[in-house]
Subunit: 239 residues, 2 copies
Amino acid sequence: MVSEKQFRVPGVIGGLGPEATLDFFAKLLEKTAAKSDQEHLHVIINNNPHVPNRNEAIAGRGPSPGPALAANALALKAAGADFLVMVCNAAHAFQADIEAVCDLPLLSIIEVTVKASLLHKPRVVGVLGSSATLTTHLYDQAFLKHGIKTLSPQDTAQDHFMDLLYQIKAGHKENCRLDMQHIAHDLIAKGAEVIIAGCTEVPLVLSPQDLPVPLISSTDSLVEATILYARTEGSTSSA
Amino acid sequence: MVSEKQFRVPGVIGGLGPEATLDFFAKLLEKTAAKSDQEHLHVIINNNPHVPNRNEAIAGRGPSPGPALAANALALKAAGADFLVMVCNAAHAFQADIEAVCDLPLLSIIEVTVKASLLHKPRVVGVLGSSATLTTHLYDQAFLKHGIKTLSPQDTAQDHFMDLLYQIKAGHKENCRLDMQHIAHDLIAKGAEVIIAGCTEVPLVLSPQDLPVPLISSTDSLVEATILYARTEGSTSSA
């Protein structure tokens, strides 16, 4: 028996949406490259989709998801998680609500995605993100620290992007790839040297081969950072 | 906001193996047929692959997974689960260890799979299961209550089946479908009118269209029973 004490246990705040959480879990198993059950990570997923809409909250049209996200984090801690990840970019606008009540470290999807994109040394990046992610400047501020400029879809292009997100969440992915590709191409035409899939629904339809510049998936970046952090030497488990 | 109090929250004892747990989660989302995040179920998955091997334990060659499974259940209860499901047939040989410490109801994968197969009114079923599942007679006893006879692979055929399971767990699925099909065909030749995929690794490689008789997937049966039980009227949530 391989002891579960060898690795830190990630707690996944999921359900935002569920398909993106499934995608994270699938990629986590794939990238772990285990040869037996026992070589895989112990991971706890709290897939709770009954959380107020992040975009409506940021737009001032609905309640804050903060309390629900904090409750999700506390449930993961109660179940034995050693650190937290949140498979949703926009929800990181409410990271402070979680950290106010839960003392587990939270690996930020924004920070790990920015870090992954630095390998390409871009001066300008194009960020595909939900309106909540854009208006709270999660990526703008994180990239600014590295002197990198951000571009995002504007007005009707962003409205169209949001329509696509809700179509993907409703399971209608088939027609979204081409439209998503067009929105990314507009940003590339304006100077983006790298495209950030800064919403976990984007990698469900858009792949690196769909674009002429590097596409950095926030989901993939979080998967890689999760595996690395879970396996870091000196890990302890409260499980 | 849709209240999470409307539905019971399933707690998934997972990681046995992780790929089967992922398959369960994917099918749960698919069969929920939700049109938005909020229509999906709140589900908590404790994917802990660091559990002693069920087959080695039953064969007397290794420690019991009972305590690890019980700890998994208690963690799910602490996180707010209202009932339990276990995505592994063989682990149900240790169901009593879980029920001894955790008072949450446990939906048995064996019972729901037997129930699903009754629709086909078989007199004889062929059970593809791990050696732990077969030697503990989990399916034999459950089918016997309905007067249904069970057949399973014997000797070298069962050894070969076990090899296939470990290949699937190691991520080598590509060559397993044909071999699994041959093992099932042998049972059909001996009189099986229905084949039970009584191991959650089997549906990862074998599909209903691969066989001339109905294939009842224990994973699919558990997914359907989970959705039904979670949505049953009068549900309460401790979350």
